[in-house]
């Protein structure tokens, strides 16, 4: 029956991630952003606490945890630095391509391609990729991907899912946000297809998990924006009282928190659906869309509450505004998400508001 208590295991996981985020990521926020990568000691600390390979099966050396665990960890890490959270996870959402196909060979190839330190996998979706006429090679062009390098690509072309480990070109970009993860324009030029599979239901679930991955990073960024700007508003005085006590700002802060809480519940429900093997595509798409919608309010409002200080790099609000906007553009962004959620609503109206 309805229960929002995370339980001991998830609570411990969240605490572990929060501690690492506060001790290792937050103090190096700007350092990682400037370097466009995460410092090696931080990577070591990440691996040491057991957060690497969170969703990898136990027989592959992972923790074998599910979507709820992922979204909870992602939120905690991203509350300190979403770019660093991305940089620390070599698989990113590309892992779901392999996991949802349930083909051990896929996973072996992906793990093999990511064996070098700092290696990253990328996810291509949304019609960016074209398969060559002979069906053995693929071309693709992605304007921005939040990684400095890509050693493997999982690409979705129609109902087909491809694994590419060679012929990947990355052109460095400044990146609007998530700079700690690096940024590149990604090209596949007649890249050989290492593996391919047609598995529409697997693709749908992989896409759902990918969206929850991004959505949970957004939650972290937005949570920090809410917390930081609220704290500032309680300390900063104007016209004889804390600015938070002017009703205009008090209501704005209230609406920001409501937007965050509501989006988080949608993300958790969708992740729970994934873990329960229930239909999850529409729920995950809606959750991602709602996080993006929340970010349109919270990102700029966080800066607004700090006024001129919000605009300056001395405070993390400008970073939160950039990062939240960038995350909302990833994986097809808002339009692709509402397209999928809308399709489910129209095709099966009961599903969108049905109870599990």
């Amino acid at each position: 029956m309805f229960d929002l208590d995370p339980g001991d295991e998830l609570a411990l996981l969240a605490e572990t991630a929060r501690k690492l985020a506060q001790e290792e990521l937050r103090p190096r926020l700007r350092e990682h952003e400037s370097a466009r990568e995460v410092a090696q000691p931080v990577r070591a600390a990440f691996a040491q606490v057991g957060l690497a390979g969170l969703e990898l099966p136990a027989e592959r050396g992972g923790a074998g945890l599910g979507a709820l665990a992922r979204v909870i960890v992602n939120e905690e890490l991203a509350a300190a630095d979403a770019g660093a959270a991305l940089a620390l996870d070599p698989f990113g959402p590309a892992l779901y391509g392999a996991l949802q196909i349930c083909d051990g060979a896929w996973l072996s190839d992906l793990l093999g391609a990511l064996s070098a330190p700092g290696a990253r996998a990328a996810w291509i979706d949304g019609g960016d990729a074209r398969i060559s006429a002979d069906g053995t090679r693929v071309d693709a062009e992605v304007a921005w991907y939040p990684a400095a390098r890509a050693d493997a690509v999982v690409a979705f072309v129609g109902d087909e899912q491809l694994l590419v480990c060679e012929g990947i070109r990355c052109q460095e970009l400044p990146g609007a946000g998530l700079r700690a993860a690096g940024a590149c324009a990604l090209r596949l030029e007649s890249a050989p297809i290492a593996r391919r599979a047609a598995n529409p239901s697997g693709t749908e679930r992989a896409r759902a998990r990918a969206r929850l991955y991004a959505a949970s990073l957004l939650l972290g960024v937005l949570r920090d924006a809410c917390d930081f700007s609220r704290g500032y508003a309680q300390e900063r005085h104007a016209f004889g009282r804390p600015i938070a006590h002017h009703q205009g700002l008090a209501f704005l802060i209230t609406d920001m928190q409501m937007a965050l809480d509501g989006a988080r519940l949608l993300v958790h429900e969708a992740a729970w659906r994934v873990d329960q093997h229930l239909p999850c595509a529409g729920a995950a798409a809606a959750a991602f869309a709602q996080c993006i919608e929340a970010s349109r309010l919270i990102g700029p409002a966080g800066v607004q509450i700090l006024g001129g200080h919000g605009f300056m790099a001395d405070y993390p609000m400008e970073k939160a505004m950039r990062e939240s906007r960038a995350l909302g553009l990833w994986l097809g962004g808002f339009d692709a998400a509402i397209e999928d959620a809308g399709r489910e609503l129209c095709d099966a109206p009961g599903a969108a508001l049905g109870l599990a």
Binding site: G7, A244, H245, F251, G262, W272, Q290, L353
Partner: protein, 389 residues
């Protein structure tokens, strides 16, 4: 462990509520709306409601066995479903309704027997109601002026109440009043005022924009003498600010209920809008589908926020902020859903005979009763940033 599953018993009760709503509530609500008047006390709907076991108290009786408790989460889901079919009718339904929680929490055993006893197995539709709102005190419940003065072995009540659901047909009204010539929270007490008590009168049933199935009534208390025993909980229960807190306990339980009602109404508007768009060939248009999707998504979110408030209540954890969030969010989303429905209907919406048009009028009240959206934000802000009172 995090779990969003709804259990089998709740599913069964939801299915039952759905059938009752479809077959009885919606027709009754449409009838009242068309006639622009509350369903009369003798309406066959109420008799059927009692027949199927409605209108009962949760009080087990003087020697009754404890009944299986319905969780707040389950209650919210049921009330969402019932409001889907007609929220006005849910308020019109007979029963001890809003004041029951207060009586159960604070009433003496004698009071429970006298006031809840008739609701154990009602011989006819019976109503009770709670009277807080006054012409000069709505969301600011601490500002009520109705007074109670001790007079020998009784209390004399004077004041005016307004927008009270079902007051003219209630067997008794739980009236909130201030004592000792004071005002504010600490001075508030609750009093049982029985039907026919001299001084209780001038009932005026308001004409409303929506939710017409139940009566919203104004009345006055003019030198209304009631026995001392009618003070809820008895004299000794009232210390410091307990009186006001009792009333606010109702409000805290009430906000998620209103939120659940709003979600149900929003769902009804969404389903009607979807059906209309499908029949009119509008669903293939991106702009239509995108807006419907946004509504579905926000209703889904509002439901979860609402259930969170209920889940906290079930665990007896503080839920003031969450309850207000649920109320503020759900009422706004439901209004958006009905407004979107009207836009999709176009001129058809202006005809005045479409369910969405009724829902559009009905749902506005959800952002007003139990504290407006603005008051909810004040409450949330007090908790989030210490907004001064």
């Amino acid at each position: 462990m995090i779990d969003f599953r709804i259990d089998e018993r709740t599913r069964e009760r939801l299915a039952d509520a759905r059938e009752w709503g479809r077959s009885a509530m919606r027709p009754a609500g449409l009838e009242a709306d068309r006639l622009s008047a509350p369903l009369p006390e003798g309406h066959p709907y109420f008799a059927k409601f009692i027949e199927r076991g409605g209108g009962r108290t949760r009080w087990p009786g003087p020697a009754g066995a404890k009944r299986e408790r319905t969780s707040v989460v389950e209650t919210l889901l049921l009330l969402e479903e019932l409001a889907y079919w007609d929220r006005g009718v849910t308020v019109a339904d007979p029963g001890p309704s809003l004041p029951e929680t207060n009586v159960l929490a604070m009433g003496t055993e004698e009071q429970k027997e006298r006031y809840l006893g008739p609701f154990l197995a009602p011989d006819r539709p019976r109503w009770a109601c709670f009277a807080m709102t006054e012409p000069g005190a709505g969301s600011d419940a601490a500002a009520i002026k109705t007074s109670a003065r001790k007079d020998g072995d009784g209390w004399i009540l004077n004041g005016a109440k307004c927008f009270i659901g079902g007051a003219s047909r209630a067997d008794w009204i739980l009236v909130q009043a201030v004592v000792g010539g004071e005002s504010g929270r600490g001075a508030q007490r609750s009093f049982f005022v029985e039907r026919g008590t001299p001084g209780l009168g001038r009932f005026k049933i308001e004409k409303k924009m929506g939710l017409r199935a139940y009566e919203s009534t104004s009345f006055t208390l003019q030198d209304c003498l009631i026995p001392a025993a009618n003070l809820l909980g008895g004299e000794e229960r009232y210390e410091s600010s307990a009186g006001f807190k009792t009333a606010m306990r109702t409000f805290n339980a009430g906000r998620p209920i209103i939120a659940a009602n709003a979600v149900g109404m929003g769902r009804a508007a969404l389903d009607e809008a979807l059906a209309f768009a499908r029949e009119s060939g509008l669903l293939h248009r991106d702009r239509v589908r995108d807006r419907l999707e946004a509504m579905a998504r926000k209703l889904r979110m509002a439901r979860l926020v609402c259930l969170r408030a209920g889940w906290l209540a079930d665990r007896e954890r503080p839920n003031i902020t969450e309850a207000s969030m649920a109320k503020a969010l759900a009422a706004g989303v439901a209004q958006e859903a009905t407004a979107l429905g009207m836009e999709l209907l176009g001129a058809t919406g202006a005809r005045g005979d479409h369910l969405i048009e009724k829902l559009y009028r009905d749902v506005k009240a959800m952002d007003i009763v139990e504290g407006t959206g603005q008051v909810q934000r004040v409450i949330i802000a007090r908790n989030l940033v210490g907004l001064p009172r």
